[in-house]
Amino acid sequence: MKIGLEVHVALPTKTKLFCNDLAYENQDIPNSNVCPVCLGLPGSKPVLNKKALEISANIANSLNCKIPAKTSFVRKVYFYPDLPKGYQITQLDGAIGKEGYISIKNKKVGIRRVQIEEDPAKILREKDYSLIDFNRSGVPLNEIVTEPDIENLEELKELIKELRSILYYNGVDINQEIKSDLNISLAENRVEIKNVTGIKNLISAAEYEIQRQSQLIKDGKDVIMETRTYKEDTEETVSSREKETEEEYGFIFESDLTFYETSNIKLNKVVIPSKIAHELAEKNGYSEETIRELVMFNKRNLYLLSNTPKEDFSKAVALIEKFYSFGIMDYSDNQFEMMLKYDVSSMDKGTFMSRIEGKEPIKEADKKEIEEYLILTIKQDSTLQGREDEKAIGFLIGKLKQKYHMDSKEAKEIIEKTIKTQKVN
């Protein structure tokens, strides 16, 4: 089985790829973020967004690609209503990344190309007409093309997770609906599934297609070389009934742009989270799977765990999980370090919160004073004497909270202990 992928992801830039319109903000009103360039008006000219180039070079670098000394663009000519110029500006031979790979558990999946390109407009289909929203026209994308090195569904899932994780570490919005084309061939003939939206659909399209092709082979039938589309509602792929001719886009150099030097692009240190997870697991003798879960899509966790000494490592993992379980996301490095002092495994939220706020547990010396205060309080109030019920304890908790700023759990413990001791005495 051979599976290859073409993934399109939108890049985290403020403005579009070839003009100064906002790429993602204020998109509610259709056709409000448009200009002569992204509308393809005659006379307009594209100017490359250097930030998009920088991000793309970093993505290519993270995917172990060769980055050419100069990168350039081509026109891909085809007619579709969402394509205002009648061609898409994209890359081919001059692509920003070539011949890279992604490492998954047991192998490397080749990356043929990372190319920068512009998103077409969005077509809104109504009952008997369509509308076009050009706000999306010109949004910067990377198309990442893999070699057909994926050999089963598990590898496909793993590859997608790995790729998304690397993209996330390059600042890409990981919640976007990633659009992909999928090539699957179980037999000789290649079947292409075009325009699958979202990861869930991608997996389920692959699942269906693998199933379909195996069944055909089992039945002794031919798998036809064709383009198919994935139907979300029925979770199956259907033939696009397009004529199977070789696509002819008549690529030509985009001479409104130039050759861009790549040597001066700032390349960040490559972060492969799964690799770091593996290293952390080895170094600290901890479960790799748990660390992966924590760091693949969380830069903070990766940072915290990488900076935790071995002796504190398991405490750090437990602490991160505790933060998660209490839904606390905005803690500082200092707070994290401070919390490492405590055994948080049995802490309730209240105690946990007061520790984060810097409140120390009650010291033994203070406990004595509190006990004395309790005894005195009970003595002075006849209605409290000899009682161990919830109402009485609740009242005392309130008192302690007010006087000593204790949290409920701590207060309750000390009240129960005091009452018990009093009884024995």
């Binding site: 209503p81 009648g86 001479s255």
Partner: protein, 442 residues
Amino acid sequence: MKEEFLYVDKEGYSKLVNHLENRNSELNAFNFIDKTEKEGKIISVKDNICVQGIPATASSKVLSGYVPNFNATVVDRLQKNGFAVVGKTNMDEFGFGSFGINSDKIAHNPFDQRYVAGGSSSGSAIATAIIKNHISIAESTGGSISTPASFCGVVGLTPTYGAISRYGLIDYANSLDKIGVMGRNSESLKYVMNIVSGQDEKDTTSVSNTLEEVRKDKLYVIDNFTKNINQTVLDRFEELLSRFSSDGYKIEHVKIDNLDYSLPAYYILSMAEASTNLAKYQGFKYGHKLKQFSMGYNEFFTEARKDFGMEAKRRIILGTFIRGKSFKQKYYEKALSIRAEIIKRMKSFLKEGFIISPTAPILTPKIDEVKDITPVEEYSMDMLTIPPNLCGFPHISFPYNYEKGLPLGAQLITDHFNDYALLDFVSHWEEGFKYRFAEEIS
């Protein structure tokens, strides 16, 4: 003579417009004359260059009704310097032509209406020839400034590729298109060049290089460049050379190998690029709009694109063919190599001197004579203007003689960024030669 421009106030403007409309009905110099009263130094702009609020059609039906909401950078810079655009000049559709006849309204030579004005910047040349002290912003891809300037007896400068921003230019072939200037003398051209040239952040291919004025006293005549030239044209040109020789220029006859390939290389590259540039005309966003919404989009586009003229259709088909997978290496990529090679060979001479030739290989033809010539015959008329255009070398066409009442132009080429040397050369020429202009409308 110092630079002078026709300045009009609001009252004078209406008068000027009236005169122009009268003349335009016979000559077809303008696709659009702006009646909105304005004042300033009068210029005209080729109809493929955007002026905010004024129609831009590039003489194409597919663009009828397109009113750009932005200015080309050249127009912006001129308006800021007190120039006022009186109208948009006629041209061959999208720049596809050498005679000014590939337009709904055929352009007529202002010296004699039976003759062509030359193309594709036909209207700019006519306007310059008939309006007092006029300057017109034109554009050349393969000779569209030199040829009409020569036929209409005006000075036409095609600058180094990238010296003037193309922002706002409706593309023909992006790697070849150059906005340039036509005028009545070198001084006024220099004045305008100073305003319009220089890098523009809206056009990536515009360059920051300073334009120079390195004088040369050597004139190269490329012998294999000037073969196949009409005998009268050649005779007049020889006379011109003797004059330059007696003025102290050194004339040297040389041969540049494979220069013949520049014509096919040019047409391959320009058609390939043109066929992509014309893909944006789909009949529903701007310009001429098709209202048959019941059609599928393929059918709709096919119907809308029937509005292109014959030559545009020819270039779309040929250009698309050239870009095809199976032919790209055979034609397009070879043409790129030829361009690189010719640049190298011409440059070796241009470092030492200017290259000079007649601008057109023929005497100005009558409209009737060229109406029915084959496309290849028409393409071959560009043989003298194409090499510098293919290579992005600056060149200038200037009037040097009059044959049976019609002007003859010569073309001078220099090295990249030495544009002002051309104007300097012509200004010396102007000291000893008086241009005749067709009219003096003011």
